[in-house]
């Protein structure tokens, strides 16, 4: 090696010089990750290019992006990608020089090429662009420079991306004074791209420290007890509380590191929306607000699908065709707005359209037909409750609901996805005016504020967000409705759940108090809210509120969806964290359905 400059080039072909399998394997994830990131940004930039609102910067950025993909893919050995990226670079260059117009045809080609690259790069095993595809793209590219562009149908309005002007949140970076008057240029800031895994492991460590800290907290009093006169205990306590503060700060900082702006997901809708609008021949304007709202990056990824679902449905079914809109006196193009904001410890995302709205009666009758509700239920059901029906699997797939109400397939899927994020989704609507879906999610999935309690001898926790209220009751206040335990909370009966039963930790069920050894004549009901429904969990004793770092569950729990995770307390005890939504579906609905011979939901 040391004298390799003496070696003839011919001999350099020797295989040891090439990248080993291991080396390549280390390189590929980096390549994939970076390329997908770049491709994402290129997609945005290409749309901006089409909208005509672009400057030289955009061209430079696109060229550089294509250039990077070209260079990187060459090293990985994806020659097809290298080649196509090279051609992309050329096209962008030509557009930049005004040799080719940034019309629909060109943008389509750019986007298609990008998709092809994405397909190759994102595939499980990297699969290079096929020779046929390469030829096809080659032909399309050649035709660009050839004859004059044929005028296609009018370009659909590009979704308005500029509604969210600020790219980054203000609070992360102290706004410098000079970044005001001039162009909306984002002042150059320093960012480090860090592998997500590293932040996660930092998060984990911070979590461990929280646990370690609570051990210290417990030692404090013991120390005081065993050394009553010594001031050591006092000093120890001071130090430990100082450490505690620092650890909380650390944890917050790490949490902040994981925060990204929701723009990351909002931006990705530009293309699908453009495509959808074109497919359905509808005029759609999309506006985005609150793109700078921050949330945990894991949520950002998880949010994409459900939001896309809602947007798609809005275009597909919610918005009327232009002629119909005009005859109704509505603006020619339909409007969909996507907005996000913080509310307390939650992130709220709203998807709002100004389309047909939901026909509540149609929803009810469908739900009735599949046996989800009774006629009596339907008669007294509030509109708010009725919208909930849409999220039941059997209801939302119904074709005619789709037609009438404008809500289609997958509302149930949206719901379950959102609940996986420990969030909730609800809908409100006005016939003829439009529909709004509201998604609420915690800021982060890594830490939750939880209510700790004991039930059936087990230490359990529930996310505080789901807890509506607490009630202290006497065992005989539990009554039976349809053979199931219920409790009268003011004017309503709510179903009760005994955690031991749900988790199969405790086979004893039914009869009052049979599962409980708790306080002599006292029980607690934790009233939880899931959507618009409430139910109660029976607890022997309440322990208190605590921040918990959620850990993945051991395999023995994996089958149990009612469990959101587990956490460890300072003294090493393990707490199981319940998923309020799943408990509701598994226990309350299932049991109730069984009890009244209705068909099962959920499972």
């Amino acid at each position: 090696m040391r004298t390799n400059w003496k070696v003839e080039r011919g001999e350099r072909e020797a295989s040891m010089k090439d990248l080993s399998k291991e080396e390549l394997e280390q390189l590929i994830p980096v390549f994939r990750d970076q390329s997908l990131h770049i491709i994402e940004e290129m997609g945005q930039d290409m749309l901006a290019l089409e909208s005509g609102k672009h400057d030289g910067e955009l061209i430079i950025r696109l060229k550089r992006a294509a250039h990077t993909i070209k260079g990187d893919s060459a090293c990985i050995g994806l020659d097809g990608v290298t080649n196509l990226a090279h051609q992309l670079e050329d096209i962008i260059d030509a557009v930049g020089h005004g040799e080719i117009p940034a019309d629909r045809r060109v943008i389509d080609l750019l986007l298609d090429s990008l998709d092809a690259i994405k397909g190759a790069v994102g595939a499980e095993d990297l699969t290079d662009i096929s020779a046929e595809d390469a030829v096809r793209f080659g032909e399309r590219i050649a035709s660009l420079t050839g004859e004059e562009a044929v005028l296609l149908e009018p370009t659909p309005q590009a979704p308005d991306q500029d509604a969210s002007p600020s790219k980054e949140t203000g609070d992360r970076i102290p706004a410098s004074t000079e970044a005001s008057s001039e162009a909306p240029k984002v002042p150059s800031r320093e960012f480090v791209r860090v592998e997500a895994g590293r932040i996660d492991s930092l998060m984990n460590l911070a979590g461990e420290m929280v646990i370690a800290r609570s051990v210290l907290n417990q030692i404090g009093p013991e120390l005081e007890e065993s050394l009553p006169k010594s001031e050591v205990a006092g000093r120890f306590n001071d130090a430990s509380s100082q450490l505690g503060k620092l650890i909380s700060e650390l944890q917050k900082s790490v949490l902040k590191m994981r925060m990204v702006t929701i723009d990351h997901v909002f931006k990705r809708f530009g293309r699908p929306m453009r495509q959808l609008a074109a497919e359905h021949g509808k005029q759609v304007e999309m506006s985005v607000r609150g793109g700078e709202t921050e949330l945990d990056r894991t949520l950002v990824d998880l949010l994409y699908e459900p939001l896309l679902h809602l947007l798609r449905n809005a275009v597909d079914h919610g918005l009327e065709p232009s002629e119909e809109r005009e005859s109704l006196g509505k603006p020619h193009s339909g409007h969909i707005s996507l907005s996000a904001y913080h509310e307390g410890n939650q992130v709220v995302v709203e998807v709002k359209d100004d389309g047909r709205g939901i026909d509540v009666e149609a929803l009810k009758s469908k739900a009735l037909r599949i046996g989800a509700i009774t006629a009596a239920d339907a008669a007294v059901m509030s509109d708010e409750d009725a919208y909930e029906l849409m999220f039941l699997p059997g209801v939302s797939t119904a074709a005619q609901i789709t037609q009438i109400s404008g809500r289609g397939i997958g509302a149930a899927a949206v719901k379950s996805a959102v609940e996986q994020m420990r969030g909730s989704v609800s809908a409100k609507s006005e016939i003829g005016k439009g529909t709004t879906f509201v998604l609420r999610m915690p800021l982060t999935l890594a830490i939750i504020k939880a209510l700790l309690f004991r039930a059936g001898g087990h230490l359990l926790a529930l996310p505080l967000l789901a807890v509506n209220e607490l009630a202290r009751i006497k065992p005989d206040e539990i009554t039976f409705l349809d053979g199931l335990e219920s409790y009268r909370l003011r004017d309503r009966f709510i179903s009760l759940v005994r955690p031991g039963v749900v988790f199969g930790l405790d086979r004893r069920r039914g009869g009052t108090g049979s599962a409980l050894r708790g306080g002599p004549e006292q029980l607690f009901i934790i009233v939880l809210r899931v959507g618009s429904k409430r139910y109660g969990i029976v607890a022997d004793s309440l322990i208190g509120e605590q921040e918990l770092v959620i850990k993945p569950l051991e395999s023995r729990w994996l089958h149990n969806e009612a469990m959101a995770g587990a956490s460890m307390l300072g003294d090493g005890r393990v707490v199981l964290i319940m998923d309020a939504g799943m408990v509701f579906r598994k226990a309350v609905r299932y049991e109730r359905a069984k009890g009244t011979r209705r068909r099962a939901y959920g499972s």
């Binding site: 350099r12 010089k17 990248l19 970076q34």
Partner: protein, 364 residues
Amino acid sequence: MSERKGPEGEHMEAEKNKVRVLVVDDSAVMRKLIPQLLERDREIEVVATAIDGDFAIRKIEDFKPDVVTLDVDMPRMDGLTTLDHIVSKHRTPVVMLSSLTTRGAAMTMKALELGAVDFICKPKGLSQVGQMGEELISKVKAAARSKVIRLNSPPPRPGSKKKSSRLPRRRGSEKIVVIGASSGGPNALRYLLPKIPADFDAGIVVVQHLPESFTGLLAQWLDELCELDVCEASEGDRAYPGRVLIANGRTHTKVRRKERGAEIVLERGEPVNGHMPSVDVLFESVAKEYADCATALIMTGMGRDGANGIGQIKSSGGYTVAQDKSSCAIFGMPRVAIEKGFIDKVLPLEDLASHLVSVIGRSE
């Protein structure tokens, strides 16, 4: 590299004095790949990577690397600006990473002018990666031993652009001057050639190790600075007094002695000493064709290309000159030639032009 120390010494040093490298590239893939390739060599340690110029500069301060590898084309503070800063403030040797595009080549030439020690082209395919790795290792190691040289004399005056020598096609001189250079060469040539007057009485043929997209650019670049007429050598071109021909990067270049100057013969084939064009190939043909009418100069560069050729020129009666250690960015090729006893005169870069003029003379 191995020439300086014995094997044991080398081993000892490998443990303690690794060449510490900072890798600067905006692509995460390159920031992974380049360290992988460099650290195949036990004597190299990548101490840090940086995503852009700002970070690079900060990390140079923190890590004090021996060598920086720098991507030419980067967002924000671009490669050239970064390079300028590194060279003027830190004087850390920089090896540029370039692409073979026209734009890449132009920026790279500019980088060499700004004081980059050397450059490497990014691979165009998987099959070239291993080769790039070897090139990286050798160039980084050479760079670690190099001096950062910035020649600040923007030579004579590109103002006197119109070259008097272009007008008459002179009688062919019997003499020829051949120059071989590698790393650090473009910059050294930029210093040397503009100091040679238009009436210099011999044609000049230069082999500068460069990939093919760079040689034309180098010629163009030098042409703007020189009184002499500089162009890239094509088949059948004549090197006559007043003219400098730069060997192209696609082929080897040889000469045939003709009445009105040396005729260029291009030869395809395998690289020699790892190089295409190779200095040895040119020098050997010059030794054969011109014997004692040849003057050869070997300049800064890594490796040993040209040593044998200049030896043949000397043994067939030609006159041989080498650039001295103090002025070489990388004192490799001249040293090999000097150690073999093939060199008549060793001179610093500043004195080379006047020496050549005094040896060759000026035409009437």
